[in-house]
Symmetry: C2
Subunit: 345 residues, 2 copies
């Protein structure tokens, strides 16, 4: 059942050739591979065995072999040698990050472009969530009768805002009172706990302090909306989908593009509670349209907590090695950038 070293060698070679050429690879071509010393005939025998075991398939009799999903999986799990990160890519990334001392959001957005152009695939970046950040300040700024903007600033300097409403005849003192209570009770609280932990306690306090109790409650609930904000999604390199030979079929390409378009759907492709690198090959993606795609993802962190995801979408025939390197390197660089940024540029 286990593969012999020679079979592993051949499987690797098949995958690497196929990744490069996007065409079924035959025994003759493989024999030319430098670290393969056997004759085509031997290779044919081995390939027949590999096919029988399900690691390779044949589009039709008398054509070369292509790796099956199982083949890719074995390759990723056992054969991938962690080679050097692409030198140019490394330089490019390092360069990108040292130049940047900008707003986080902009950097994160641009990462999706960078990642896609490095990998020549589609890159997906889920913006850093603020669940672990703490409330630094809450402001209520009136902008009209019965209307105000609530602004919430976190300790790392993220700003969220939401429009709130109250009765038109509320008094200025009441608004001030509300803001004071909010700040008293909420500063230092992690965003993730905003709603759950403090709702009851805060309501009580507000009831004691503020005349217009219902208004205060409404505001409270509206402010809490910021915790429900879904992560922002940045997608770069969607056009790269079309340059993959496997998606020259317009139907397929379109189904993938429309999938990418509904930003929300993309979120589900990322494993919720894993922090390391994950690789989902073909049918391992539950989504139908991704049957012959691979989604490789990893997380980036702030203060040791994963706060966001980056990922690459490509055909199952992708350069796993290279893309894995780039992804890991990018994640590390992004993590470092975030840390540097949030401790003071």
């Amino acid at each position: 059942m286990m593969l012999t070293p020679r079979q592993q060698l051949i499987l690797s070679a098949v995958i690497e050739d196929y990744v490069r050429m996007a065409e079924p690879v035959g025994s003759r071509a493989l024999a030319k591979h430098e670290d393969i010393q056997f004759s085509p005939a031997t290779i044919r025998n081995e390939m027949a065995d590999l096919e029988e075991m399900g690691y390779l398939t044949q589009p039709h009799t008398s054509s070369g072999r292509i790796p099956s999903q199982k083949g890719y999986r074995f390759y990723v799990d056992n054969l991938l040698r962690q080679s050097q990160v692409d030198r140019d890519a490394g330089i490019y990334l390092k360069d990108f990050f040292t130049k940047r001392i900008d707003e986080v959001e902009q950097v994160v957005r641009e990462i999706s472009t960078v990642l896609s152009s490095l990998t020549k695939q589609t890159a997906i970046v889920l913006g850093p969530n603020m669940y672990t950040e703490k409330v630094r300040k809450i402001e209520l700024i009136p902008i009209g009768p019965g209307r105000a903007v609530a602004i919430l600033v976190t300790d790392t300097g993220h700003v969220e805002n939401v429009h709130v409403h109250f009765s038109e005849d509320i008094r200025v003192e009441d608004v001030e009172a509300i803001v004071n209570v909010l700040n008293d009770k909420l500063v230092g609280v992690p965003i993730s706990k905003l709603r759950s932990n403090l709702y009851a306690e805060l309501a009580e306090e507000l009831a004691r302090t503020v005349e217009r109790f219902e208004d205060a409650l409404a505001v409270l609930s509206e402010v809490c909306q910021v915790t429900d904000r879904e992560e922002t999604v940045y997608i770069g390199g969607t056009a790269n989908v079309l340059s993959q030979p496997e998606f020259h079929d317009v139907e397929k390409a379109q189904s993938i593009l429309s999938l990418l378009e509904q930003g929300g759907a993309v979120t589900t492709w990322f494993p919720k509670d894993e922090r390391g690198l994950t690789v989902r090959i073909g049918a391992e993606n539950s989504v139908g349209a991704l049957q012959d795609c691979t989604v490789m993802t990893t997380t980036y962190s702030l203060y040791g907590h994963p706060v966001g995801h980056i990922g690459v979408l490509g055909p199952t025939r992708m350069d796993y090695n290279r893309i894995m390197q780039i992804l890991q390197y990018t994640s590390a660089a992004l993590t470092e950038f975030l840390t540097r940024w949030s401790t003071g540029n």
Copy 2:
């Protein structure tokens, strides 16, 4: 030189048929058209004339005709009868807007989706700029040594924020002084005038009030950055590009998709100083990749000033009539929504 009514009728018919079928239309097919009473032979003669004048072309001898760019242009300028807006579309839009009492940004983003699914083309929406809005409040919230977030709220409730830096040993009073001066001098000033008009005056005032003058200046300049923010671009329905027969050629499709991806580039497709509806057919778009595309755009307004653009990108063979209707209707509805929203939901 001028077209006879019959020629106009035939031109219309050719265009309308071609828009529907995406295939060259011949004299026989046209003769079946209900408001055409002449025989195929007559039609052939007229079409030959129209071709000679450049309104139609023939992919090859002995095939039907297709409209030339000049043909489309004439059609748009002279023959388009403003018919009823698509009933379903109207209902759909009305529905969308009455349901929505949400954040502007979200509505604008969703408009791009709505517009693309109504037109089955790619929709481009340039978010409302805030140039005409006025400063309501400026806040400086410290988030670390020498670091703060500057928050600017406009009279309609837009919130922009930017990170600012000053010497680490600046005193709290100085920060307060800066904020006070900023608010004193800037509240009520239109965003567009922020930098130009008040820079000098403000600097003077700050020099008088604030000890750390350089710091204040730096902050001022950083705050002004928000005026440089480029308009946000939302693009919906990029996948629709692929469903157009003319873009089944992967090359073409890709060049258009990559164009769409660089959000910034898209901005230039919108005429700067026109407010009504514009139609750019084929080569009228200066961009090379859009040679067989039409970009139809219009603006939406707030308080009578155009504040943003919406547009539709499709093949020159697009349903001008329908898309024009939808665009105008959407623009009107969006304008109305904005007004309602900014005067208090």
